[in-house]
């Protein structure tokens, strides 16, 4: 069995004495799509943000690809500096609920920014790659637009292209469709689906239960900072073993 591409062990995180993650472990294989479900405050977004260290964990080990950092008191751990954190993050791509495109740059410049500034790629190569990625998300004709001229769905597709430009080992989606008008959700989900078909490793925090069932290989249900249940969608979503999972899913089945 090949080694998992992401390995998270005994992750702990507290905010002002409120334990948001209590000893969470999980691993993700290359090409696997994982959906993180759970009520708000369950810690799923914090877990996602700990994977690219936007939130720095208090304890535990995070490994993505070759890079591994151990946090908290104990052997082999130290508080990582700016350089270590940055190089770790360059290996992961993140897509945010609020898109967070750079408004002072065109769509093309947004997608080129990571490779240019972080990877020091030359401009012509960065441009060629960026245009190819924009074509892939169906926005080649919007390359010279500024973000504010785009719809929410288009913005999010640019954000996906921007993250992909770094050629990350994993893509992290933090409620990527929650801020979108309902009619625009589909175009973003289609892009995510095509990435899954290409074998991109992905972790999605989502409230789109139907989409999770459709695209995820593994579903993780969290509550109160712990993993309650994990497994294939046919089990966790269709036939959950735990009462907490059933109670959560019943809110969606009503609608």
């Amino acid at each position: 069995m090949p080694e998992p591409i992401i390995d998270i062990r005994n992750l702990k995180k507290s905010f002002d004495h409120l334990a948001v993650l209590k000893d969470v472990s999980l691993h993700v294989d290359k090409g696997e799509v994982v959906a993180l479900l759970g009520p708000s405050g369950s810690g799923k977004s914090t877990l996602l943000r700990c994977i690219n260290l936007l939130t720095v964990p208090d304890g535990g080990t995070v490994r993505v690809g070759e890079q591994s950092i151990t946090f908290g008191a104990g052997k082999g751990s130290k508080i990582p500096g700016d350089k270590a954190l940055s190089s770790f993050r360059a290996n992961t791509g993140m897509v945010f609920q609020q898109f967070n495109l750079f408004p002072h740059m065109t769509v093309l410049q947004n997608v080129m920014e990571g490779p240019l500034t972080v990877k020091k790629l030359d401009k012509p190569s960065a441009r060629t790659n960026a245009l190819a990625l924009l074509a892939k998300v169906g926005l080649a004709d919007r390359a010279d637009y500024f973000p504010e001229m785009l719809s929410g769905g288009q913005k999010q597709r640019v954000a996906i292209a921007r993250a992909l430009a770094m050629e990350p080992a994993v893509m992290l989606f933090d409620e990527a469709t929650s801020a979108l008008d309902p009619e625009l959700v589909g175009e973003v989900l289609n892009v995510i689906k095509s990435l899954a078909a290409e074998g991109m490793t992905m972790i999605l925090v989502t409230h789109e239960i139907a989409f999770a069932r459709d695209v995820a290989d593994k579903v993780i249900f969290m509550r109160d900072g712990v993993v309650v249940e994990a497994g294939p969608p046919s089990v966790v979503i269709d036939a959950p073993e735990r009462e907490a999972t059933r109670a959560f899913l019943s809110h969606f089945n009503k609608g």
Partner: protein, 224 residues
């Protein structure tokens, strides 16, 4: 006042004195704006630090200069500082030092305010790409924050120019000081001070209009 006969012809006799004064006013303004901006940048960045012992000294500097009148500072720098340090400084040095530090305190606040008013999502997106802290600042935060800072920075620089009129208390030959000299000499203070006021206005009005256009251009560049 009804019997007063205005006579602006005397002003022409003192033309060269007035122009020298205007020249000094502009020179002091340029020096104090540039030095002030430099001090502003240097003191704004450490104030963003999460470590209190880094930000505290710069906060103290800003508050001391914001919360005392600039005229008091000017007199203190010229008369008290040399006694305290044992180092004699010229009126010019005291004036430039004081006005630059005074302006710098306000610039510092404008810069810091502009930076912290940015959406934290911008920093997060840049960090998520793997950018280093300084790259986030220069590539993402400052270009956007600068646009918001332009109007208050221009306002503060206009204040800097007007504050140079206080240098006359240290007998530096700025526009107002020359005006005082001419007024004593010509016995025509009403005309002299009217002309001085107009001179300040004529210099500053185009400056504000230029700033307005710069602001519009920056807005357009960002696709607004």
């Amino acid at each position: 006042m009804s019997g007063y006969v205005w006579d602006f012809s005397v002003i022409l006799e003192y033309k060269s004195l007035l122009l020298t004064g205007l020249g000094y006013t502009l020179l002091y303004t340029v020096i104090c704006v540039l030095l002030g901006l430099l001090i502003g940048v240097v003191s704004a960045l450490p104030r963003l630090s999460s470590k209190w012992w880094v930000s505290a000294p710069f906060r103290a500097y800003v508050e001391v200069f914001r919360c005392t009148p600039v005229l008091v500072q000017l007199v203190w720098f010229y008369y008290a500082l040399p006694v305290l340090t044992g180092i004699q400084i010229s009126a010019m040095t005291a004036a430039v030092l004081c006005l630059s530090l005074y302006g710098g305190a306000f610039y510092s606040e404008i810069l810091r305010g502009g930076i912290i008013s940015m959406d934290p999502g911008q920093t997060e997106a840049a960090r998520a790409l793997g950018m280093r802290r300084h790259q986030v600042m220069w590539r993402v935060i400052l270009p956007q924050a600068f646009k918001r800072m332009v109007p208050p920075l221009v306002n503060q620089s206009i204040m800097q120019l007007k504050n140079t009129s206080l240098l006359s208390v240290l007998a530096l030959p700025d526009l107002l000081y020359q005006g005082q000299v001419i007024a004593h000499d010509s016995y025509r203070p009403l005309e002299v001070y009217s002309v001085i006021a107009i001179a300040y206005f004529v210099v500053l009005l185009p400056a504000t209009m230029l700033a307005k256009r710069l602001e519009q251009r920056l807005n357009k560049k960002a696709g607004a």
